[in-house]
Symmetry: C2
Subunit: 605 residues, 2 copies
């Protein structure tokens, strides 16, 4: 029986038939790899995710972490799973061999990680947060910091967090107040409170490496005065072994609707709340130069945002497969044409409205997965393309796509989960089936790592305007290349290409129109509509790309991939007929420079 977490068949199609990841092995960084090693590591990820992560997904939801005032209690299966994960070495899947990494392409790594996210988003958050932390230090930390903190993280002995938000400053990092006072020994002492810190406390690892944004007194106000610090939960002794507790105190756990397996915390740094008379301040180590914290954090943030999109996709995907399996085995009702009340009931997949709900899910989750893997592939280009210009293009395109890769799956794979519940009917609303948990878990994704609205401002306010619009121009040019290929391919792809080409023209025109007014307030008031319209265009592009792979195979046949290809074709049609047209009214609205929300006054609500 095939997995209900992800589809290996689809991963093969996307990674090999479409993205041709094996060709990456022609490059020095990946020269040790082959299609066989890629498949072996995907096997490993599928197996560990299936056997170690999926089985306690519900238990971790039902028995969320608790804090007794002294320590955090987490069901033991979480640590057991994470110990196995550490043994796989997958945390370092894409890292350099020099730090113990496998040097796998990011596209393959992202596919591996999706198995864990589909199996158990709560448990897999611990290593994936740690990875973001480690990657940041690899990019910005000193050799000594990498040796001290990254190596134990790669080995699974230390876990990592990112400490950005504060209770009075969620999306608004300019307003953080945690301060870091320089000491004579070169370290800093931190004082402040951080909110929404995932993995902020637990006993799953020997130590927790917090990466903390704070202000060095005397620095500039706003975001320009933010620096980044390593603040471990436990201080290391002279031999690098964990010794005394640092002054990082867990104030409490947040009790969430979903994602309950991951502790989410309010942390006090240097407040000595539980230890009056303790040392004044939490010991921290500056990463890089002072006042560069935001830029450094954004290095990790972009990665984290694509990771959120990947997690949303994985939750959508498993919900889709589970509702498909349910629809195939649940008998209910009869086909319209069958008037005989004595005839046997048919599986609900036979009903067109159920197929609609399944096909919608398929078009969302496979479209989103394509985008996530495409972003991984761009990261590989950015790191390893032989020509500098290609590396630069990949970086720029990835920059533009990041808010979409974060927000589109967060929005539409949540819709997929909603449809997965609906396919299950009343059963889907009970905790006897997985889909309600996926829906609750997935609801976090439009919030964390920058809300939907923040992504919208990022796309319209920054990404499409930067470098005189070079990012947008590159996106349009890249999509246009697909449209042109599809035109030449003729067949159905050419037909869909016409719709996508027209939508692409509108992206260019409305962007110009929004910024042509000289009134950024009107432009940005419509940023969310813009984000959603451009997102749909990007996913339509992903579907046209997939259709081109199918058509290159020579049209409908009876080969081993005939069903796969017919399904891809039908999902592409679905997206172009049912989804892409949604952008028409959105573009019209943007074109009208709508002021409805801008003109609304608080006292009119």
């Amino acid at each position: 029986m095939s997995s209900t977490l992800l589809s290996r068949r689809d991963l093969r199609f996307l990674l090999h038939d479409w993205l041709e990841v094996t060709r990456l092995t022609e490059r020095p960084r990946y020269a040790e790899h082959s299609r066989e090693t890629f498949d072996a590591v995907l096997d490993l990820a599928e197996r560990v995710a299936t056997e170690r992560f999926a089985p306690h997904n519900r238990a971790a939801d039902l028995t969320e972490p608790t804090f007794d005032g002294r320590r955090v209690h987490i069901i033991p299966q979480v640590r057991q799973a994470l110990d196995v994960f550490a043994e796989t070495g997958l945390l370092a899947a894409s890292m350099d061999a020099s730090v113990g990494g496998m040097q796998l392409p990011h596209a393959v790594r992202a596919a591996c990680f999706a198995w864990f996210q589909a199996a158990n988003i709560g448990t897999s958050a611990y290593p994936f947060l740690t990875l973001g932390n480690a990657n940041l230090l690899l990019a910005h930390g000193s050799a000594e910091q990498i040796d001290t903190w990254v190596r134990p993280m790669v080995e699974g002995r230390f876990f990592g967090t990112m400490c950005l938000s504060e209770p009075q400053a969620g999306s608004s990092l300019a307003d953080i107040t945690t301060r870091a006072e320089p000491q004579d020994d070169g370290t800093y002492r931190l004082h402040g409170t951080k909110m929404w810190i995932s993995g902020g406390d637990h006993e799953l690892s020997e130590n927790i490496v917090h990466l903390v944004l704070a202000r060095i007194p005397g620095g500039p106000p706003g975001v320009k005065g933010i620096s980044l610090f390593i603040v471990p939960k436990v201080l290391l002794d002279a031999d690098g072994a964990p010794g005394a507790r640092n002054d990082v105190v867990l104030v409490g756990l947040n009790h969430k609707m979903g994602y309950r397996g991951t502790t989410n915390t309010l942390l006090n740094f240097g407040e000595g709340v539980h230890r009056p008379g303790g040392r004044p301040g939490a010991v921290g180590h500056l990463v890089g130069e002072p006042h560069q914290g935001l830029a450094q954090m954004f290095h990790m943030m972009n990665e984290a945002r694509i990771g959120v999109g990947a997690g949303a996709t994985a939750l959508g995907y498993t919900g889709y497969l589970k509702s498909l399996a349910y629809a195939r085995q649940r008998p209910q009702g009869r086909p319209l044409a069958d008037k005989d009340p004595g005839a046997p009931q048919v599986p609900i997949v036979a009903h067109p409205d159920v197929r609609r709900m399944l096909l919608a899910q398929k078009s969302y989750v496979e479209g989103a997965l394509a985008l996530v893997l495409y972003c991984g592939r761009l990261l590989d280009e950015e790191k390893t393309a032989p020509e500098a210009a290609d590396r630069e293009r990949a970086r720029l395109l990835l920059d533009v796509l990041t808010p979409i890769a974060k927000s589109w799956p967060s929005q539409w794979c949540l819709v997929a989960n909603d449809l997965a519940i609906q396919v299950h009917g009343g059963y889907g609303y009970t905790r006897d089936y997985d889909v309600e948990q996926h829906w609750r878990d997935n609801r976090l994704n439009p919030i964390h790592e920058g809300t939907h609205g923040i992504q919208a401002l990022d796309l319209l306010g920054r990404k499409v305007t930067m470098r005189d619009g070079a990012g947008l121009a590159l996106l349009v040019e890249t999509v246009r290349a697909t449209v042109t290929r599809a035109w030449k391919a003729e067949g159905e792809a050419a037909e869909l290409a016409a719709s996508l080409g027209a939508a692409l023209d509108r992206v260019t025109l409305v962007t110009r129109r929004l910024w042509g007014t000289g009134d950024p307030e009107v432009a940005l008031a419509n940023a969310s509509v813009y984000l959603e319209a451009v997102g749909h265009v990007v996913i339509a592009w992903m579907w046209l790309e997939q259709l081109l792979v199918v058509e290159a195979d020579g049209g409908p046949g009876d080969g081993p991939d005939a069903d796969l290809h017919a399904g891809k074709r039908q999902a592409a049609r679905y997206f172009f007929r049912h989804e892409l047209p949604r952008t028409g009214p959105q573009f019209d609205l943007l074109d009208s420079l709508d002021r409805t929300t801008l003109d609304m006054r608080d006292d009119w609500f």
Copy 2:
């Protein structure tokens, strides 16, 4: 401080300024009433909902009912609240004085009930299920049955349920197998299993009156052989007092994602599971004639469906008000124009994207509430209009609107709850705020009392085709009358009327097109898209109606309702600019007689 459950100001606008409910007091049935009595009963509902229902809403979610194998345990606040509710007499708000009713108009009754649904959807389900049961018996039961079963329900001593679904037959009532064997004494003995029975067991009342669909052996197959029975949990002795237990056994409670305050049960009738050797079969009393069960149940079902829409609306409404209150007090960030990082943060309601999320919610929940109250008003017309033709028109229009009044709020007020979470950011994802519970609670509404897909089949397959399309013609004519009034009123209403008129034309055309093919399979495969498009047209109509009330007041002024009216105007604009245009691509799709879902094959998924 104004309530965060519902808005009395909006209720006044809708009930008095728009629906002019006080004019109903000119009719004999409501002659004892006045604007003062209406307001007094709304005061009562608001007070009891606020003081008795809202305070334990979270507790009932966190501590759901449990079953120890012998009895069901429910937190005591539920019974305390229901005892107070019984004292208010509101269960009989719209019933005849002869059975202890207040003879309130349904529009006013619906407004009263919405307070309880907004405060605590789980606890309020018990009386509202009881009401549906009682109304069914008032319509179809014998005088003796009314006396025996309805009176104690009106007094709050007995509660009621509806037992339709079975484990193997959810939406497909044709497949129920519960059988009812006639006895010499005129009673029946029932054997079977019923699933998803809300309020199916508890100790909140002296007795539970189950209304059960079952088959009398020898009857026709399918839905034509279904009869309706009264099956009490506890048999009554010769004096009508509860005596021995009937053979109705609680097998277990369903553990739901939301709506957790309401027990939802799997019940065995006449299986004697816990009492081997017990009497063979559960004692039941036939309601009306044999084989009329489905028609009788549908009498109640239409009422229940509008009630579901009302509940969805109430949950959306309170989520809106809570997110508005949060947005007004939560400081975060600065206006775009303010470049000074030292300037104080502003409440998030100042940000256009937050206003967008609030305005969207306002347009959904106030539009939905208008529809719910309009349906109540139609019920009043159906019962009391002086002319038979008007009563008949009201009945027909209500019949057409019922699937929309059920499904539109269930879909869009859930979206409103999603936006309410988003406005709260990370806090909205925690159980420290109410909005996550509203979202979970509201997710049931597209499922129970006929799923979204079932409503779509009801609208397109039955309601718009019945009597040669008389229902649709009446809907179109009624909306057209508003469009014509708006044309004559000129001003902004005339402008919006043009859009609504065009959308209305498309409703007529696509309906004709879908049924013109002679291929019901294609038509019904697109039923959900049709339902959603027509739903948006209907809500746009509700907004145009409201705008006409505002414009009749003489345009923007500085009277006491200036802010209310400005808000209504802006929400109407929002709906016409951001929402109604969504129907364009939907109509296009319907016009294309789309076969995408129909052509999808199971093995292509």
